[in-house]
Symmetry: D3
Subunit: 336 residues, 6 copies
């Protein structure tokens, strides 16, 4: 496969050790992560070449973040350096009935300072086979949104498939425009989206209608009508029994039918962050490898379930490791 | 609310990292805790002013313990410094069918050296709105018992409500008096007690009688008869499926009826120590805040359940965090 | 009881902290372990004198490994020093559906360099009451196999009972002989073996036959026919629901009947390595202490279940701690 | 002594463990510090009551920072909660010829968002005996500068002595005013300042003049002329032989003569941050305790030298520990 | 050489990590140590068989302490288990002009509870070649002192050389007798002592007299007169330039002349505890190996200097490693 | 500059934390390093593109090692995967007079299994501007030596300058050939070598001769006579005052004169490993950047001195950081 290019912000992630609460912490574990970069890293573990495009401050933290991408096999040749600071998020890991908790400190980041024209998308995408973005990027700043639009339109022009995880986060979108105003033009250029019922309502004003069939199917039909380039609409359903025990299923509307996966029980959760990104990477890998929607979906959910056992944002799991779980073997027997 | 004053010993807690056994340990995590101080810290997290009264050795360990109280918002203005040493307890955390294990090394502590008159309770309690003690304190030494009696009687005189957790520990009570001899006079001054059937038998010779109704109800009626100041008698029931999985319910006899809470499943347990103290603090907060026994009890059990997710002795959980769990939402969904 | 002598390789075990994957690890926890040595250490915790015989390189790692044995009460007086290197295994701990993973790096170890005659078994075994080996040892090198045969035959001559865990590992056995060629002569000298249906087939060509009764019983009867010294054949059945949750049962053919134990639920698993060795040690202790096959088997499975709560290879659990679990109390209530 | 009130920003300090470089770090040690708060903490260790006034974001990091102050004995009753974020600085510890390195990420902090009138200085200072600020505060924002001026003028009105460390940092001062414009009005209200020749030039345009005597003396005379309230001008001279070895001397112009201290050799440096704040705290303590300028200066430099042995920003050293060093005993003999 | 038997208390040592002060510490590094046990461990590293005799509480901490001795090659067959608790000492490591600091918490230890007759010294010493004790032991309790006397007299009877480090610690000796009363009878049975001028004065009332020659020589002559069995009196001189830099020399009066060693510069100090015990072990090894007083003394001081580079109480250094330093090569060149 | 290609083995480096001895260690810090790779990493920090060529086992440790190279900016596109195992070295860090100590466990590595023809050097070197190797590589195996010769000859053919660090290690060279037999043909193709007097004698039989001038000059002249392609011969002189304090000077014979650098004092040493590799990288950078032998040499020694402050094998220091030290400023003043 040709390389997958992902685009989005990367933050320094500072998590308290073990289950320590923020007010107890004398130490933080440090790594770097962001929704789109997590997809790129996961793909690299699956053996698919990937490159991440972002903007870092020109300091040692930016260098460290860039080093992390390369360490896990992601190309970094088009990353820009400049601007104010690296966004940060603080993470405290929950257990039992106590939720994990995130404090964001990402305003005024180098990425938010992106301006259209800084990135030469023709150049960046010339060898690419896929482009992926998420709804976080256009929420960060007007410049980021416009850069994203530029990327999508360039990909469209070059005939490169585009995927997006709509990922609506109400607390972002602070720069004066709303998701309702910005997202439609971006999603128009997409071939595949991950989108929940809630996102469809919040971002596109689409509500389930009885005449289109039950719930999510109705939403998918309307989405395809509004955005005719979209071929597949995918979603995961997470049930949360406790902070330590979730279950996960995936669904895909491929324009014809609604595919479903078995339910994966996930307990005890090691690290819940990045589960959706692991799903997305699994989906891209699965579609490419299996040329079969059901298998791709099964692979994606299995990959996402496995992510919950991996510390950090990114799904450091190989395709070999996903396969048995995808085929229903979650026994986790010792591998010698 | 006016401040809650708690009184009791604080020990240095030395716990092995992770699940290491004592004989493996090359390191100990250090914190400071004690039943009554744990209540004070938890109340401070709930936004209720609290002060802890104790006696520390006049060395850096005493200073560190005092610093821990202040760090978590507890006032320390009446702590005494002097005496021999700081009591210590060593903790090894269990899992599966292996229990957690405690080694006490608390003899001859500064607190045990307390003598009546060292603490000026009139002064200490003059701005207080509540006084709390536990059955550990009178078990430690004759001086501690007498200081506790002095505190209770002063509170009674000043019209300050008094609560106690009877907490019978047979291995303590080494100084020549028995709980049966000492406790009744102390409990006489209490408005609310946490007391199990076992404690009622061991400390007050009260056994369930058929004519008073079934088990705990009968005990409560007799306790109220013997100690007419007591208005509420509370208890928790813990089922232990394994060292990693317990469940918890609370009951309260309010003089009229026996209230109960739903059962909370607690798994996987992070730190079991201080669950009872978290309950007590939740109860004080709940009674004060809700003016409703059932809600207070529900809050208390939810707080106690949450404690099992927090490392250390004290329940570093805010009231905002208890509320959803109290209302039945134990889903632990990520908070951004 | 007179001392139990165990014989086998010990490796440096390097495990990633927490749930870190190998490619994330900047640190390894280091300990030393090996199937037979794990049995010796566990027996020492049960109060049974034990000695381990092996060969270490004459460097600080060999000294450290030897020190670990002594630390946990195992005698080390007949260990040889010499040869190339200490074998190593790297361990990554799994969770949920992600398995634990081992990378072996044990070729050309000091132990593999053992030659017949290096060890004076008459001298070593003169005060022994039991000799234990596993199928790992003869798989490592021709010299190790011959040394093992020498030990078994000496034990037979001295009237010392011999136990073995057949433990077939296909990836070992690289030195030109097969388990089928080597094992029978070794097992001939055994009084008790732990052997699965799979091992019986792979190592001795024994398959269940309908005329001997169902599955494992048939295998046991044939094993006893082929190796008439064998009095008991034992096995455990592990069900793996996930990397974090297994269950365990034990069975024993004592020549007359097939004994079974209750099923132990094991969750959440702390460290799965050495579960079989803990079982073996429990069995030796149990047979010696209870003189009752069922109780011995019950003790062995309880010991093995408890091992899953202990970090490292060896079961640092006392007999006092096994007993309640063996009797069905897996409640793991706090021990003060 | 009545309490010393300090005013200024506190940042989260994230330092790499040991000598790790930023690009190597997978972990950060976390503490909280700021020039003025460091003075307050040090004074509390010396037994002088102190209170720190600042503004924190209303989140767990703000709570943790506030908890750190209380842990070390500083009062926090007038701290404001609100605004955007907590400023951060990243620290990498140097050695040999490699310098320690700081990356600031402090823009848009809660403290920078301070507005005049938010703090009721009449109320805050009503029980104070001393007010201390540094040149960092007015450099952060116009609001911070105005709040500082308000504080100084209130102190002047209440007859409370005021000290300042001019501490010119060119990279700050980004909000549109220069130090030259802002500082004079603030320094006008001071009784004692720490000020280097460089700061005098940069902030007040004062250069040494031959007619006033050599170098620093000339500067001091001019400073006193321009700011007649100033009674003492103090400075330290640090020689840097390497990142691991510095030396330190102090000088004080008391309006009459230039006092000097012996030179302290400082090697190997554990933590260089906060050396100047330790000096300032030592000076306040020394002046108050000894009523003797030379002794106060000697104490201050000894305190600052000792700070280099303490991890973190603040000088966790008692007066008892400073005294022998102040008297020339730097032998560091074991204290049992 | 036949085994060296040492006798004395072992404490749990809890040291803060790095240079953390007690009031900062959230963690302690744990090991076990005591003056006499440190000698035994060091001898075992030198290849001399050694056994330590002490009394531990019968709990996991006692087991862990005993395990540490065995780990480093010391025999533990005569250790008693019983009594109250394990003594503890807390250690904070100094740097620059800040001293290391020890908080003792050793009262009422299992060792202090020793009673004469508990230890069968005839049995213990029957295979011994040397007996060693220090002045700490008789300072702890009357029972410990009497046990020590019993040991010394038994050694004398069996013709086993006896060494002592007089090691006067004023703060001990709390049980009602003074060193002046107790020590002479014990030292009477010694063949070799380490004793400073100060100890000679404090414990035996011996002051230098002009007629016996200068300082320490005079003291030695008087000591030999008073205790005619003593053949060698040894001492070290430590200069303390800072907590991080000391120097060390050794002197020995062998009845005829005063031998001296070169001065060893020791910087930067890693762990200063146990330097004297390392010296003592080096002396025993040196006397036995070299049969030459000067070489023995040179070895002892070199061993002690090296100890300062080793974490923990005991000198984990082989004789091979001491030899070059003893011969003047302190270059510390990398050993591959 | 075009990329520098380096070729050689990389090992897993396992170092004990702090100053822990091997026999104390319960943990190892893990990184990956090797002489030639260290040069590549250092060059990447200086902004010079670099690529490392080696062979790793096809397992997670090989992936991790490869990830480390990319993390620090080194290209890894021609690394081979296959063979037995990753070589390991264990490191214990010395202090004072105790040397650092290395235990090698590198036999039978994937790299040692290299065979001529596995690497297509024409392809690898086609875009290269420099090729670097060391005397370690041909010492490892015949295949490694032949691969190295192939690389050198290809570089010569392509007109790419070749540098080597002769680095004689007697303990390697176990495969049946001697350095004397193998090295001359390899060095013949070099333009620049780092070579000590000792290496010249051991590897080429060259001893200083009076007629060629004093010591090293004589050696250089003979080396140039024997290997006429060599233009520069370089060496460093390390004086070792202790394990914690070394000094360093560099010399270069450029065919005309013997250049020298000032002496750098290096104390306290953080990590001594890789000092020579840092020198080599500094030399390549310096020659390329300054086009001036003296400046290049000064840069190289300054870079090497700085390496001693960096944990791990590789010199994570930028050119900006070397420059002040090269110009004589070793003051290590805090960089904000």
């Amino acid at each position: 496969m040709k390389k997958v290019v992902t685009f989005g912000e990367i933050m320094l992630r500072l998590s308290t050790p073990g289950y320590a609460r923020f007010i107890q912490a004398d130490q933080f574990n440090a790594t770097y992560g962001g929704g789109e970069a997590n997809v790129a890293i996961s793909l690299a573990q699956f053996g698919i070449p990937s490159e991440h495009v972002t903007r870092f401050p020109d300091n040692d933290l930016g260098k460290a973040a860039s080093g992390l991408l390369r360490r896990y096999g992601v190309q970094t040749g088009h990353i820009l350096y400049g601007g104010e600071r690296l966004g940060i998020y603080f993470l405290e890991t929950g257990a039992i009935s106590r939720p994990s908790k995130v404090i964001y400190d990402r305003a005024n980041s180098a990425f938010a300072g992106l301006q259209p024209g800084m990135l030469n998308w023709e150049e960046i995408l010339k060898d690419a086979g896929w482009f992926h973005w998420t709804g976080i990027t256009p929420a960060i700043s007007d410049g980021a949104a416009k850069s994203c639009l530029d990327a999508i339109q360039t990909a469209n022009k070059l005939g490169i498939p585009v995927s997006a995880d709509t990922n609506y986060r109400k607390n972002l979108w602070q720069y004066g425009k709303t998701a309702r105003e910005v997202m439609p033009e971006l999603v128009e250029g997409c071939d595949l989206i991950v989108c929940s019922k809630g996102d469809a309502a919040d971002m596109f004003g689409i509500e389930p209608r009885r005449e289109d069939g039950s719930g999510f199917t109705s939403v998918c039909k309307q989405l395809q009508k509004q955005f005719p380039r979209i071929k597949k609409i995918v979603n995961t359903k997470r049930e949360s029994f406790s902070a330590s025990h979730n279950s996960l299923t995936g669904v895909m509307w491929n324009g014809e039918e609604m595919l479903k996966t078995p339910v994966h029980q996930i307990t005890p959760i090691v690290d819940r962050i990045g589960g959706g990104d692991a799903f997305m990477a699994g989906l891209i890998y699965g579609l490419f490898t299996y040329k079969n929607d059901q298998k791709a979906l099964d692979f994606a959910v299995a990959a996402s379930a496995l992510k919950h056992s991996v510390e950090g944002d990114a799904n450091l799991i190989s395709a070999d490791e996903v396969e048995p779980v995808m085929q229903g073997d979650s026994s986790g027997r010792l591998v010698r």
